[in-house]
Point group: C2
Chain length 192, copies 2
DNA sequence: CGTTGATGAGTCATCCATGTCTCATTTGAG
DNA sequence: CTCAAATGAGACATGGATGACTCATCAACG
């Protein structure tokens, strides 16, 4: 083996496979390992060599989703400035991985018995913290709990992602739709 | 056969089976036909006699879901009074079937290729009509499309149902949480 | 009480996804 | 070029869910 880069190993591009799998499974959650392999341009044998079973693949996708999600949280700088602005930045940053998140969200309920990845807990905490901060500064209302606002954000992201995928709404409106509905609601505001 | 009621036929209570199946599949979407049968207190043979295959069962659940949903729409009297009030009534009325709706919602994406039940379209239309009415009377903002508000309502119902099932939020807060977030958003309103 | 019809339990064959294995082929390293 | 290592294609056994079937049992009707 050479020190220089394992170049031939790159014929199997783990990251590429994961992204293709995420993309496919987002659209068709019941896709076969065979289908995943073909979508990624590799053989089922190779796919199974690197991910022992579907579980391993889903777990890897989970890690990827958590990593991307946490990267989005970083990029959104949740602690900076007004909470509302942070929410808007967050929605914008997280948009690229909503498809994957939606898939993992629905897949997670299949792992009911088992313990779930601690990453989701960390993400929950940061989002809940953001909403709580907004409540403490008086920016957000307090009759809706920070926990619920977090769950609602998840639901809106999923609904938005799905609506975009179905062509019901324009992709460009994603951020505005979600952030403004979550922040301002459906009713007109006569103030300001 | 007697005219009087087919009483012994009632040993198989179709409605009961459907409700039990809905309840179980809502919690565990991958439940076996065997599990569904046992949950309903009947044998797998009988279950298969009345629903030829899992598809038929899911289709029947779909019919049930649509019927309950439309009943909720009726009970909410969407055309009466202020649109905001109609939304609140709707959320309250539809709460009992959110679990089933969430299951069907996720199950529907498996029927991708096939044509979907026209009932969903009717329901979509009525909800979109409600939001459009609110926009036309000036009650709701117009920068968020009625289509998106409808999708968002679905997303919030799913998120709320899930959050309640997970014990993250109180069941009694369901209506208030969803309706008020959808209508008023997360930010404080200083007016009124 | 006998008949009729549905149920329950069990068996059986089938299908499909999966995981493992082998072998020929390809590709990069030395 | 030669060797090492990974890939691709295919075969194979496995397990699980499913649907169809049989047969004994049970309940209601006449």
């Amino acid at each position: 083996m050479s020190l220089m880069g394992y170049y031939w190993l790159m014929s199997f591009d783990r990251d590429h496979v994961l992204h293709v799998a995420a993309d496919l499974l987002t659209r068709k959650a019941t896709a076969t390992m065979e289908e995943v392999a073909r979508a990624a341009g590799i053989s089922r044998a190779t796919l199974n060599r690197h991910f022992t079973g579907r579980d391993a693949l889903v777990r890897a996708l989970e890690e990827l989703g958590i990593a991307k999600c946490e990267a989005a949280l970083e990029a959104a700088r949740l602690e900076e400035g007004a909470a509302a602005g942070a929410v808007r930045r967050l929605v914008r940053e997280i948009q690229p991985c909503t498809g994957l998140l939606t898939f993992l969200y629905s897949e997670n309920q299949l792992f009911e018995g088992e313990k779930q990845n601690a990453g989701w807990f960390r993400i929950d905490e940061r989002l809940t913290g953001l909403f709580r901060r907004g409540q403490e500064t008086g920016e957000f209302r307090i009759d809706l709990s920070a926990t619920w606002l977090t769950e609602a954000l998840y639901g809106l992201l999923a609904a938005g992602s799905w609506a975009v995928a179905e062509g019901r709404v324009a992709r460009n409106d994603f951020t505005h739709m979600i952030a403004e509905l979550l922040l301002g609601g459906a009713m007109r505001r006569d103030e300001s």
